[in-house]
């Protein structure tokens, strides 16, 4: 215990005056703790101070705390918050704390950390980590092993029929291979998250239908494949972590406190991990809000949270302390009243057995007598265009009267950004002279900067064409996108004479090398040399090969690569090592360019249209375009990872027999970009979202999670929800306590709109629809009829009483690295901006990689030696 300072004194210094519930939650330090936390109830502060209390006043070491959050951003905020509080304690008391080894992060990142934590392995075991596949790479991994997986499944019939069967299991009627792969991926991930053991399920449930059995067999094969190829996906990563926990006695004792934020969005395997982690000390604290659960489509089970005290009782036979955090510090009391009314129907939340599926809490506004401004408003009932006009007019009014500091303080929320209603509302905003920022509205590939850049690239590597009988559905849509992007590229090239000149010169060079390649191949053929022959400079065939190449008439540029002493030395070394090159590889070397797709990308950034986007950003201006360009670079880089080299060759750029599409173009447009185009339909939020100044953010409700805005406009209160096919299947395969089938989708819609409404601080506006095909969700209609006293017509709304905007919250202290920030910025601020701040993907191996390799290898030696010494003692 510290002698020099008390928690109370610290609170005072930080001007923090916790309410009774917050105080109880912070001071609690022993046994399971259950914190249902309403919106704006200060739960982050509670977590921060609770952790501080444990470390400073209960002698818990930072590395004995496991603190999991939903996003990396939340984790970083907590880590930095704790660091700065502890820093303060240190200045006041002289006691130092080392946060370096504390477990703070998302479940996924903490699982990765667990897996590589040496403490949890026998000391003599070499820890070999599988490479992690992200979402996109997982798709390609499955695609590459697709036929093997189908074979293992036992599905019968042609490939098309088998794919159709895969799709059928997930309620999809197509034969599309893309769909089948992505359905199988979803199925695998969900099985992993449910901690399902395929062999066991197959054995114990003989009433399953044949297709479902086949899917389970395929999952089984998939898991084995991950193992043999030494890779792991994000979902099965968690299974691996659980396994380590179960096998290592040290692991379940390592964490004296396990604290889980956003517990309502955890999945079954995570629940297992948390209980395993806390098994020994049983100090587990879960924080969450079942009313804000929105990730069922990703496998989250809100049931984890709702039934937490029961689970504790079942696992450890003990009671849980429940402390609801229900004072709201965010919203005007009318808004609080609005969403209390919205959630208040207890009968709705009960199932037939009388069990309630809502933890149930009444949110109390912190200041129920706050100034009498009207904070809830509705538009006139109408269509999207008229709703959009009223919302836009209101936004303009708020900006003109200074009720917001910047347009980015007005959030316009939608269940989904990809529909016509959203487009119409956006149009209305733009017609009213407002700029909109819609991150990931629809596809990234529809973003202007992506279209512009890819459009110009298409003029170098060719444009995909498809015969008209293939032009159906999504594929037709994609080809239309290609056409448009191509035309846009042509326009940009035409508009800039410099760019025109650059493109011509590039094309001339490409053409030259393509001709060279043809000449080399011709000459080899004429001399009776096969492209599969092995090249050894020291035998007769080798001499003949060299002769044929030299006499081919190919340009001297091409021949340069095949001459010189270094070349001969390399070739001899290869022969000795049994890695001699084939003739075709020689040709490839001779006709490889000194540029690749990313080089071209960076060169194009030099031309007017793109350059002005960078210039704008480097002097503190609009960040939107540069963020998008950075993302294009990352997508290009990921494509290149799968290619043989970062450099293009004449073979890559040889046009097809009947079209201008090159072979690199075919791989790029028809496989990679096509999958990107279709994959980006998922509704994943981007957690590092920035809200550029001067623009009104158009967000999905999911994207708004955890945020607050002075003004929120729920522009489209409509969502049709039914039990997802995956849910139906999982109910067949895994027994666990679940929400009733008929009500679960309704609960979920209601939670979604609850999140939307509770984001607002000073003003919440609901768009109202009327007319044919202009539904509103039933629960919202009911709300409007129940809360007439709260509602105001937005066009008549008196804004004069609305409070002046506050200063945006002071951000938490930021971490800056001596080498990665301070030194790199001084080397070149612009390079720092592009490659560090906006994370552009470099075209070549970054020079830091060499240093990292040496450094990390030496650290590894040190680590091993330290571990060995510890055993020795």
């Amino acid at each position: 215990m510290s002698q020099n300072i008390t928690l109370e004194e610290l609170w005072k210094a930080y001007d923090f005056n916790p309410n009774e519930a917050q105080r109880r939650a912070i001071l609690h330090s022993d046994g399971p703790l259950y914190l249902p936390a309403g919106p704006g109830s200060g739960k982050t502060r509670v977590l921060l101070w609770r952790t501080l209390n444990l470390i400073v006043f209960h002698g818990v070491k930072p590395e004995e705390i496991f603190l999991s959050t939903f996003t990396e951003k939340a984790a970083r905020q907590l880590r930095e918050g704790i660091a700065s509080l502890l820093g303060d304690v240190q200045t006041r008391t002289g006691r130092a704390f080392d946060l370096g080894r504390m477990y703070v992060g998302t479940v996924h990142s903490l699982c990765q950390k667990l897996i590589r934590d040496r403490r949890f392995y026998p000391p003599d075991r070499v820890v070999n980590l599988p490479a992690l596949l992200d979402e996109l790479n997982q798709h390609f991994f499955i695609q590459n092993n697709w036929t093997d997986l189908l074979t293992a499944s036992g599905f019968t019939g042609t490939i098309q029929e088998q794919q159709q069967s895969v799709n059928q299991v997930l309620g999809d009627t197509t034969v599309s291979q893309y769909k089948a792969i992505s359905n199988a991926t979803k199925f695998f991930n969900r099985c992993s998250e449910e901690n399902l053991k395929p062999a066991l399920v197959l054995q114990s449930r003989d009433n399953l239908d044949a297709n479902l059995r086949a899917m389970l067999q395929m999952y089984h094969a998939y898991l084995q494949l991950l193992n043999t190829k030494k890779v792991i996906d994000f979902s099965s990563l968690q299974g691996r972590a659980l396994q380590i926990l179960q096998e290592s006695a040290a692991a379940s004792r390592a964490f004296r406190h396990v604290i889980i934020d956003e517990y309502q969005d955890t999945n079954p395997i995570q629940e297992r991990i948390f209980f395993e982690l806390a098994k020994h000390h049983q100090n587990i604290c879960v924080v969450g809000d079942d009313d804000q659960a929105m990730y069922r489509f990703r496998g989250a089970t809100v049931e984890n949270f709702v039934t937490f005290p029961e689970t504790v009782q079942r696992e450890w036979h003990r009671d849980t302390m429940k402390v609801p955090l229900d004072t709201n510090y965010r919203s005007h009391h009318h808004i609080v009243q609005l969403y209390n009314t919205y959630m208040g129907d207890t009968a709705f939340w009960s199932d037939q057995t009388g069990r309630s599926w809502r933890v149930g809490k009444q949110i109390n506004p912190h200041n129920p007598h706050e100034a009498l401004h009207r904070s809830v408003a509705v538009t006139t009932h109408g269509d999207a265009a008229s709703v959009g006009r009223e919302l836009a007019a209101t936004a303009n009014r708020l900006i003109a009267t200074g009720k917001v500091n910047d347009p980015n303080e007005i959030a316009v929320l939608f269940p989904s950004l990809k529909n016509d209603r959203t487009k119409e509302i956006r149009r209305a905003f733009e017609e009213a002279g407002l700029k909109v920022y819609a991150p990931r509205a629809g596809r990234f590939l529809e973003v202007e900067e992506a279209r512009d850049m890819l459009g110009v690239l298409m003029h170098l590597i060719g444009k995909p064409e498809a015969s008209s009988e293939l032009l159906r559905g999504d594929f037709a849509e994609y080809m239309k996108w290609c056409d448009e992007v191509y035309d846009r590229g042509a326009e940009l090239i035409r508009q800039d004479p410099q760019l025109t000149q650059y493109m011509q010169k590039r094309q001339t060079l490409i053409h030259q090398r393509v001709l060279d390649r043809a000449k080399l191949l011709q000459s080899l053929a004429a001399n009776g040399i096969s492209t599969d022959d092995i090249y050894n400079p020291d035998n007769a065939l080798g001499v003949a090969i060299k002769q044929a190449l030299v006499n081919s008439g190919a340009s001297s540029d091409a021949m340069r690569t095949l001459s010189g002493t270094r070349f001969d030395r390399q070739m001899r070394a290869r022969v000795e090592q049994g890695r001699a090159l084939l003739v075709i590889q020689l040709v490839a070397r001779a006709t490889t360019f000194d540029f690749g797709l990313l080089d071209v990308f960076y060169q194009l950034l030099g031309f007017r249209h793109f350059k002005k986007m960078l210039d704008e950003a480097q002097s503190g201006g609009d960040e939107g375009p540069i963020c998008n360009l950075a993302m294009v670079s990352q997508y290009l880089s990921r494509f290149l990872e799968s290619q043989q080299t970062a450099l293009l060759s004449a073979r890559d750029l040889t046009p097809g027999a009947d079209s201008a599409l090159t072979s690199i173009g075919r791989r790029f447009w028809m496989r990679y970009v096509y999958v990107l185009y279709r994959n980006s339909e998922s509704e994943y939020e981007d957690e590092e979202m920035m809200f550029p100044r001067g623009r009104i953010p158009f967000l999905t409700v999911h994207q708004s999670k955890g945020l607050e805005f002075p003004v929120v406009m729920l522009a489209n209160p409509n969502k049709q929800n039914k039990l997802q096919h995956m849910e139906v299947i999982m109910r067949l395969l895994v027994d666990r306590l679940r929400e009733p089938e008929d009500k679960s989708p309704k609960f979920d819609s209601q939670r979604l709109f609850y999140v939307a409404l509770s984001r607002a601080k000073h003003l919440c506006v609901i768009g109202c629809y009327q007319g044919r095909g202009l539904q509103m969700h039933g629960s919202i209609k009911t709300l409007l009829s129940r809360a007439p006293g709260l509602l105001n017509e937005v066009m008549q709304l008196d804004l004069t009483t609305m409070p002046k905007p506050g200063k945006p919250d002071a951000p938490l202290p930021k971490r800056y690295s001596y080498t990665a920030d301070y030194i790199r910025y001084q080397t070149c601020p612009r390079q720092y901006m592009l490659f560090h701040k906006y994370e552009f993907a470099p075209s070549r191996t970054p020079y830091q990689m060499f240093g990292s390799l040496v450094h990390r290898s030496i650290d590894e030696i040190h680590n091993r030696l330290i571990a060995m010494r510890q055993i020795g003692e």
Binding site: E80, A83, S84, G87, G94, A96, D98, N144, Q498, Y502, R566, Q585, A588, R589, T592, F595, D599, G606, A617, Q618, S619, E641, Q644, T645, A646, L647, F668, P811, L812, P813, K814, Y816, T819, D821, Y822, Q826, C828, P829, R830, Q831, Y832, F835, R844, T845, P846, M849, F850, G851, L853, V854, H855, S857, I858, E860, I861, H862, R864, L865, I866, M868
Partner: protein
């Protein structure tokens, strides 16, 4: 330690090579980038030479590795709150504390430039002392890139007398004197830099500065390898001014790939390896 084996004796060169390969594999998987065969050889040699040279002197004495250092509660002139981070290796023996920073630079270069690196180690030493309440006695840089003569030694196990001499004379540990009084200046400057970053001031160095950097080979090291050079006003002016202000040179810049022969060879060599083609 004398009558029983030190851990460094049980660790073999084979283990060291294995760690190296594992690390490389992990780095490749993380970053998606790889090194050419020459660069890879070079890195491998640095690690194995480190092992041979400093096994007992440093490696086996390191008490803590990859120690994260954080200097909390800093504030910039514009009142931005921030913290400073770094990572070091530490040797603590009989209350004598040494911080080691490993850099894959040439040892002669580090000697020449030791003034440049001093502030970093001063700040690190300061953070360490504040965090642990113990004074740091020494700070060193380990420069893992050896002199040419050492590189030429093919077989460490069987060195000629001449080679043995070269090897034993080689000292990769560069002691850096640190002065605590200068540390405050460095931290103040750090804060000013953070203010520039926070206010998003990212203009490149001036042309005049580039001309100066050209003398020290800075442009060659940094700019000509930088992907952003095509769109960089400073580099464009600099490169065209080198050609007497000829603007046609601007177009040439785009076709100057900035890769030298050996890098190109590395790329080609890597391309010739068979790899799964994912797309």
């Amino acid at each position: 330690m004398s009558d029983h084996q030190s851990p460094a004796d049980t660790l073999t060169i084979g283990d060291v090579l294995q760690y190296f390969e594992d690390t490389y594999e992990a780095l490749q998987a993380e970053s998606g980038y790889g090194l050419g065969p020459d660069a890879l050889d070079d890195a491998r040699r640095q690690v194995t030479l480190y092992w041979h040279k400093l096994r007992e002197k440093v490696a086996n004495r390191v008490t803590e590795t990859e120690v994260p250092l954080t200097l909390m509660n800093q504030i910039t002139p514009n009142e931005v709150k921030y913290s400073i981070h770094g990572v070091v290796d530490v040797v603590e023996e009989h209350d004598q504390i040494t911080l080691y920073d490993i850099k894959s630079h040439n040892v002669d270069y580090i000697h020449e430039e030791r003034e440049r690196y001093a502030p970093q180690l001063e700040v690190y030493a300061h953070i360490w002392s504040t965090l642990r309440g113990k004074t740091v006695q020494r700070t060193c840089i380990i420069a893992t890139d050896p002199p040419a003569k050492v590189k030429q030694i093919q077989n460490i196990a069987q060195m000629t007398t001449e080679q043995l001499k070269v090897f034993s004379e080689w000292n990769p540990v560069v002691e850096i004197d640190f002065q605590q009084n200068r540390m405050q200046e460095t931290i103040a400057h750090f804060g000013e830099i953070i203010d520039l970053i926070e206010s998003r001031q990212f203009a490149p160095p001036t042309v005049a500065r580039l001309q100066q950097m050209w003398q020290d080979r800075g442009v060659q090291m940094i700019c000509t390898k930088c992907d952003a050079r095509f769109s960089c006003d400073a580099y464009r002016s600099f490169a065209t001014s080198q050609q007497g202000g000829n603007t046609a040179r601007l177009m040439e810049i785009y076709f100057d790939a900035g890769i030298d022969q050996s890098e190109r060879e590395d790329l080609l060599e890597r391309a010739s390896e068979n790899r799964d083609d994912a797309f």
